[in-house]
Symmetry: C2
Subunit: 107 residues, 2 copies
DNA sequence: TCAATTAGTCAGAAAAACATGACTATTAAA
DNA sequence: TTTAATAGTCATGTTTTTCTGACTAATTGA
């Protein structure tokens, strides 16, 4: 392992792009816009995914402070992840990406 | 090799994000906003890059129709790549990514 | 008590991405 | 004529990412 942080000098957009485009992150982000998300639910909702990747994605999104982990200490004690304020601030750009993707047929 | 095209169904933003975040693509895109770009110039301009990766990035950006390859058949015959209309349509979102990256300290 | 669910971790394998060095073909300058 | 530049390709190897299956530990329902 060399450096965890690549040189994104001279290109401020690069880091943010990487942040958002990690494996399953766009899907998770999209689902999180609709409400709190949970590990096992994502695993079922996102077909083709696997626990390891979901786990990594959630951890990284949390580290990046786009998601907040909440331990619900009620009856059947479980864990939720919610979009943070920082996370919410990305909704418009995410919407725009979806819009462009449609409009321009960038697929 | 299985499938070149991953399933980005159910997440329109995903494809666009991948498109923009491939190796060296943000840098290339940024430089291309300033004018025509060329293979060997990129190679020197982007430190840490290598011919193979630049080659792949240019080819893919061309396939995605964000760049247009132009063969300049003049005196010292060479090749240029220009942002296409589709490519130009992404400038605003790219700017916004740069802006957010600064504003929100998303690094 | 036994099985299931939740939310993961860990080691190892497989696949994909990336880098390196050698090579090509054309043109131009020294 | 030899050297350098342009714009790459190709084979190979290394590194990184992703997937798989086994496992854990707490709680719950039958």
């Amino acid at each position: 392992m060399e450096f965890k942080t690549a040189n994104t000098d001279g290109c401020p957009a690069e880091h943010l792009l990487k942040t958002l485009s990690g494996k399953w992150k766009p899907q998770i982000f999209r689902i999180a816009q609709e409400g709190p998300i949970r590990f096992n639910l994502l695993l079922r909702q996102i077909e083709g995914s696997n626990k390891q990747s979901i786990s990594v994605a959630l951890r990284e999104l949390e580290e990046q402070e786009l998601l907040e982990k909440v331990i619900i200490k009620q009856k059947p004690l479980h864990i939720e992840y919610n979009l943070s304020e920082k996370g919410k601030s990305l909704i418009p750009i995410f919407r725009q990406l979806e819009f462009l993707s449609h409009e321009q047929g960038l697929n």
